[in-house]
């Protein structure tokens, strides 16, 4: 029985096997060359029984499970050849059919279902802002943050796809220029209906045919916001060191098709209320002059942790824009900002004096007040065949500084109170003209930038010493660049730059018991420069090299008015530079760069008459134009291991330089005198570092470690003797970012650094440790809780350390009606911390007094959403 079953199975299998048929063959063209990718199929009527395609040798093999009854068609199909077919009856188990194909012109039935994505997309993306608003979004800035591709930094700068925006329009008009924070932080989100993101934006219509990678944003406002004034109040109260904190602000706006107006005012003594409203993203919030640089203000006591400055700030801003017709407009911006900052700190200075250090202890309470009015008017004629614009701005700065200092010299006595007061007033007039006209296919452009800075007087009163100064500057600058690509391997770049400046400066020192010391210098500086460079990439892309030669002609002509001494210089400087990159493989790479650079000073180097910069410090320039040459080189290796999320890199760099002047300083118990003498000085430095990081995917943790070492030597004159100092420093950082659950983010970081300073007669060191931990919790979308803790362990003097811990926390709750934010800074009420640092051979122990525990509750009313 069993044997019978086997026989039946064998017969059945044999029958099946005999039914399978195979068709093989080779397809060639008229030149007897194999044709690949020919579709070969067996068709019976309209039904495809089997199909395949030819390989690179033109061969194919088709299998059919059973032999079809009757005649079938064997078809050969290729896009570049005439279709061929052969009728055959597949009776044999193996049939061989070769085919020769005849080339043909490709003729396909083209189809376009949708327009080209390029044309369809255009360069403007429009978003309906309302659909992106989250519960509790208050300002336009909150709304913009939700849009795809938009990110906004802490100071309000908007960028799209990582690129900062060039223009911010409201209803197509650029009313605020770079100060668009006034709009984004004050216009209610509900009032903006549409946000257009314009890529490849060209502000000037005449540039329509040019390439641009600029991005602009245009806000369209709802009708309810367009034709009537509206405003948004906000306020806050708080407590700090038994003192009440307050904050208040209001903004009024009006937008019509041809006229826009925005006025805003805020005032607060809490420190950060409206702090970023007046940031100008185009730059130019403050400015300096020769006189204010020569006679600088005394700084506030800075702090790397917590807050050390008590700040009161306020501003008033008025902005309006009027469209004259379809191409012309006039814009006016006027504002006034006020800032008051005060802090306190003490320092113990150990000045290197050859053998014994000179010890001076100081307690300072700096106070700074700044009034900054600004007015600007812009006219623009923006037509498709011409463009003219002229922007005139006038700015002023009224700065007052005080820095009373209690000084204890030699560690004895009760100390002496030294008064220091400084007033500085500066004005800046700036005009920018831009004209472009089209002449046939050519365009002619002319730009002119003129900057006039005048400081009529800087007056510094230090005890019974009076130091004053004044300066005038007229600066212009023009530059252009030409870039040529030669094939795929070579590239040549040729930037050209021209700087032309006129400078005038005068200082006068009146000191009891001394003759008045005055100086008066004026002259000009003209620096044309050209920096040709070329780069080359090897065919296999493994080696990339670039080299260049920056050449500049420095022309100086300065006259000292009192002694009628003229200093001129006309010198050519050449700065070669080279860089190489070699890629070993996908995971490792070596970089090398090396260059020589020159620098030369200016009129400031000729101010040889001493100026008093504090109650005990004077400084004087060498009287020769400082020139320095330096050569630096850098080597770096990186290695990244794929899929293990481990990276490693190491770098080393070295530089050495020479100057034709030597810094000199003489410190006594009563005075510090700084100057430069005409004598060569040398410096060298070397540094190295390693970095490693590892990610652990399963627990969403990232660990990273960095270690650095640096060494440097420098020469200077101390107490009239030449000193060579050597500095060595080590630093280590360990960091862990852990996000155990999506609603919790934690970060822990530890930094340790140790520094050594050695000279022929002294040997000093300091070290410090800092740990930071932060936690952010998002229990529900409307609530955000954050807390940060800092711990510091700093050396005060050898073997003696001081510890400090800081804690801050904030809770924000957004409702439909208001945004409430409760902030607690310095919750442990730590009032000071101490740190040791080196400057050249001197050691300083700084004790910074911190702003005490601060609790502030702020509220921004959401009136806009309920109109």
């Amino acid at each position: 029985m069993k044997r019978l079953l086997y026989i039946i199975l064998y017969i059945a299998l044999a029958a099946t096997a005999s039914a399978q048929v195979k068709v093989t063959g080779r397809v060639i063209d008229l030149q007897n060359k194999p044709v690949s990718d020919v579709i070969v199929k067996v068709v019976n009527g309209s039904k495809t029984l089997a199909f395949t395609s030819t390989n690179a040798k033109g061969e194919y093999a088709l299998e059919l499970k059973s032999a079809p009854s009757g005649e079938v068609s064997l078809q050969f199909n290729h896009i570049s050849y005439e279709k061929e077919s052969e009728r055959l009856t597949l009776k044999e188990r193996l049939t061989k059919v070769d085919m020769v194909l005849t080339p043909k012109e490709v003729s396909l039935k083209e189809v376009t279902v949708k327009p080209d994505p390029l044309r369809q997309r255009g360069d403007t993306l429009s978003y309906n802002l309302a659909s992106f608003l989250k519960k509790g979004d208050v300002t336009l800035e909150d709304g913009l943050k939700n849009l795809p591709g938009i990110s906004i930094s802490d100071n309000g700068a908007i960028s799209y796809m990582g690129k900062g925006i060039s223009y911010f329009y409201i209803g197509g008009l650029d009313m605020l220029g770079g100060r668009y924070n006034l709009a984004t932080k004050n216009i209610p989100a509900e009032y903006a209906t549409q946000v257009d993101i314009m890529k490849h934006h060209k502000h000037r219509k005449i540039d329509a045919d040019e390439e641009s990678d600029a991005v602009a944003i245009n806000i369209k406002l709802s009708k309810k916001a367009q034709f009537k004034p509206f405003g948004q109040p906000e306020f806050g109260v708080g407590m700090r060191e038994d003192k009440v904190l307050y904050a208040a602000g209001a903004t009024g706006m009006m937008f019509t098709d041809n006229f826009q107006l925005l006025a805003s005012a805020k005032y607060s003594n809490s420190g950060n209320f409206g702090l970023y409203d007046m940031v100008n993203h185009s730059g130019g919030d403050t400015f300096g002059s020769l006189a204010t640089d020569k006679l600088p203000a005394w700084g506030q006591a800075g702090s790397s942790v917590g807050e050390s400055v008590y700040r009161t700030n306020g501003y008033g801003s008025f902005n309006a824009i009027q469209k004259i017709d379809s191409v012309r407009l006039v814009r006016i911006n006027a504002d006034y900002t006020y800032e008051r900052m005060n802090s306190s700190a003490s320092s113990e200075a150990y000045y290197f004096a050859g053998g014994e250090n000179i010890y001076i202890s100081e307690s300072v309470s700096p106070l700074a007040k700044a009034h900054r009015p600004m007015f600007s008017v812009k006219f623009e004629n923006n037509a498709s065949n011409h463009y003219f614009s002229d922007t005139f701005s006038a700015r002023a700065q009224f700065l007052t500084n005080e820095s009373p200092t209690l000084t204890l010299t030699g560690g004895e006595g009760d100390g002496e109170l030294n008064s220091q007061h400084r007033d500085a007033t500066s004005i800046n007039l700036h005009n920018n003209f831009w004209g472009t006209i089209r002449m046939g296919k050519k365009k002619l452009s002319f730009t002119s930038n003129v900057d006039f800075i005048r400081t009529p007087e800087v007056l510094m009163l230090m005890n019974d010493i009076s130091q004053s100064g004044q300066s005038t500057q007229l600066n212009t600058r023009h530059s252009t660049s030409l870039q040529v690509k030669l094939g795929s391997k070579w590239k040549i770049d040729m930037p050209i730059d021209l700087t032309a400046n006129y400078n005038f400066i005068e200082t006068e020192l009146v000191k009891p018991g001394f003759a008045d010391q005055s100086q008066r210098m004026s002259g000009w500086k003209l620096v044309p420069s050209v920096n040709p460079s070329t780069s080359w990439t090897s065919a296999n892309k493994k080696l990339y090299s670039s080299m260049g030669l920056n050449m500049k002609i420095l022309n100086l002509n300065y006259l000292s008015k009192y002694d009628n001494k003229r200093t001129t210089m006309s010198e050519v400087f050449a700065e070669p530079h080279v860089s190489l990159r070699y890629t070993f493989n996908a995971t490792s790479e070596l970089n090398f760069s090396s260059g020589f650079s020159n620098a030369a000073g200016d009129i400031m180097d000729l101010l040889t008459t001493p100026v008093q910069t504090s109650y005990r410090s004077t400084s004087a320039a060498s009287g020769v134009i400082a020139k320095s040459q330096s050569w630096s080189t850098d080597l770096r290796y990186t290695k990244q291991v794929p899929f293990s999320y481990f990276t490693f890199s190491a770098n080393a760099s070295y530089s050495q330089g020479k100057r034709n002047v030597l810094s000199s300083r003489t410190v006594s118990q009563t005075a510090t005198e700084s100057t430069s003498i005409f004598r060569d000085s040398h410096s060298r430095s070397a540094s190295g570092g390693i970095n490693a990081s590892k990610n652990i995917l399963s627990i969403f943790t990232k660990l990273s470690a960095n270690a650095n070492v640096s060494w440097s030597s420098s020469e200077y004159m101390m107490q009239n003797s030449l000193v060579t100092s050597y500095h060595t420093g080590y630093s280590v950082r360990l960091q862990a970012d852990v996000t155990p659950v999506p609603w919790l983010e934690t970060n822990i970081r530890g930094d340790y650094g140790k520094n050594f300073m050695r000279t022929t007669s002294s040997n000093q060191s300091s070290d410090n440790l800092r740990c930071t931990g932060s936690v952010a919790v998002f229990p529900i979308p409307a609530i955000e809780i954050r807390s940060t803790c800092n711990y510091m362990h700093n050396m005060v003097e050898p073997g003696k350390y001081k510890d400090a811990s800081m804690l801050s926390a904030s809770v924000q709750y957004k409702t439909k009606w208001a945004v409430w934010k409760l902030t607690g800074e310095n919750l442990l009420d730590v009032r000071q911390y101490t740190l040791t640092s080196f400057m050249d051979t001197d050691r300083f122990v700084h004790t910074t007094n911190l702003v005490g525990r601060t609790v502030m509750l702020t509220c921004k009313l959401l009136l806009a959403g309920h109109k």
């Binding site: 690949s36 990718d37 579709i39 199929k41 495809t48 395609s53 390989n55 690179a56 199909n77 290729h78 896009i79 570049s80 490709v106 396909l108 039935k109 083209e110 189809v111 376009t112 279902v113 949708k114 080209d116 994505p117 390029l118 997309r121 943050k145 849009l147 795809p148 591709g149 938009i150 990110s151 796809m161 990582g162 690129k163 900062g164 490849h200 390439e211 990678d213 065919a539 296999n540 892309k541 493994k542 990159r581 493989n585 996908a586 790479e589 970089n591 850098d634 990186t638 794929p642 899929f643 999320y645 990276t647 890199s649 760099s653 970095n691 990610n695 995917l697 950082r733 996000t739 999506p742």
Partner: protein, 292 residues
């Protein structure tokens, strides 16, 4: 600001540098574009979201080549005005796929931060089942076919009017051009957008930094990484903060490519921080075309 500009310039430089054109392998007889839509999830509430891009497929005499449409416009047509689109569409990380290159093989060049991986696999890995159904799609008479490939079941329409075995993504080997393809879960859809007879040179992209990897290992690691929902919210978490680093961040549905300045001093961005980029609220989760 400087850094932000550098990011975008370098992102573009990346595209060029990483795809350094050295030789061309074929010239297209015709160019097909497909709309590629992927059903994904977005935001905290996992609401469904359809993301889309356009894919260009060049079909030559011996080889095929396909890539994201704007990459094609940039790289193959030399149109330099699409920088922003190239960057914005890089979110899809759509690979560059060479069909029948080298002979009998399919080569895929795909980005997985921080580098490009090159994977080779044999052609004709799909076992198609033809059905008798016919239909007209965009004026072409089409037939249906199905297959199981890389963990998904695919149903496609192909037209014998266009005698080519090519198709979107890695789908190929039918007796006519594939004009539509959908996976049976409805997650991925390719649909013919245009077909144009056009001779375009197909560049062979390679770079010494390309990492050659085995297909299975790459697919496994890619899916492990990019299918992690946390990764979608903050891809930089997995990247080193080192300079010279390349990374990709999905940010609110848009991507950033990072490449720190090549010629800055070591002190620049030493502790940097790609981490300083704000985290995404409305991210889209990755849906791999290959499950296995």
């Amino acid at each position: 600001m400087k850094r932000q500009i550098i990011i975008i310039i370098i992102a573009l430089a990346l595209t060029i540098a990483a795809q350094g054109q050295t030789e061309t392998i074929d010239t297209s007889k015709f160019v097909v574009t497909y709309d590629y839509a992927v059903q994904t999830k977005m935001g905290k509430d996992d609401r469904e979201f359809v993301d889309s891009c356009c894919v260009a497929l060049m079909v030559g005499t011996r080889h095929t080549m396909q890539m994201e449409y704007y990459q094609y416009v940039w790289q193959c047509l030399g149109e330099r005005s699409v920088e922003i689109e190239v960057v914005s569409n890089s979110i899809h990380l759509y690979p560059t796929i060479y069909g029948n290159y080298p002979d009998g093989m399919m080569t895929t060049r795909e980005f997985l931060a921080p580098r490009l991986y090159v994977i080779e696999e044999p052609m004709n890995a799909q076992q198609w089942t033809l059905t008798d159904d016919t239909l007209t799609v965009m004026g072409y008479t089409c037939k249906m076919a199905t297959c199981h490939y890389a963990g998904r079941d695919w149903t496609v329409c192909y037209t014998e009017d266009i005698p080519s075995t090519a198709g979107p993504w890695k789908l190929h080997g039918l007796p006519g051009l594939i004009v539509r393809a959908t996976d049976n879960q409805g997650i991925h859809t390719f649909c013919l957008r245009s077909l144009e007879q056009k001779a375009v040179a197909m560049p062979l992209f390679n770079d010494p930094k390309d990492m050659h990897e085995k297909r299975d290992k790459f697919i496994k690691e890619r899916n492990k990484l990019r299918c992690n929902s946390r990764y979608a919210k903050d891809p930089t978490y997995y990247l080193s903060s080192k300079r010279g680093m390349v990374g990709v961040s999905y940010y609110d549905g848009t991507s950033f490519l990072f490449w720190d300045e090549e010629d800055s001093t070591p002190a620049d961005n030493f502790f940097d921080p790609i981490r300083s980029i704000p985290k995404a609220e409305n991210v889209r989760y990755y849906q791999p075309l290959e499950l296995e």
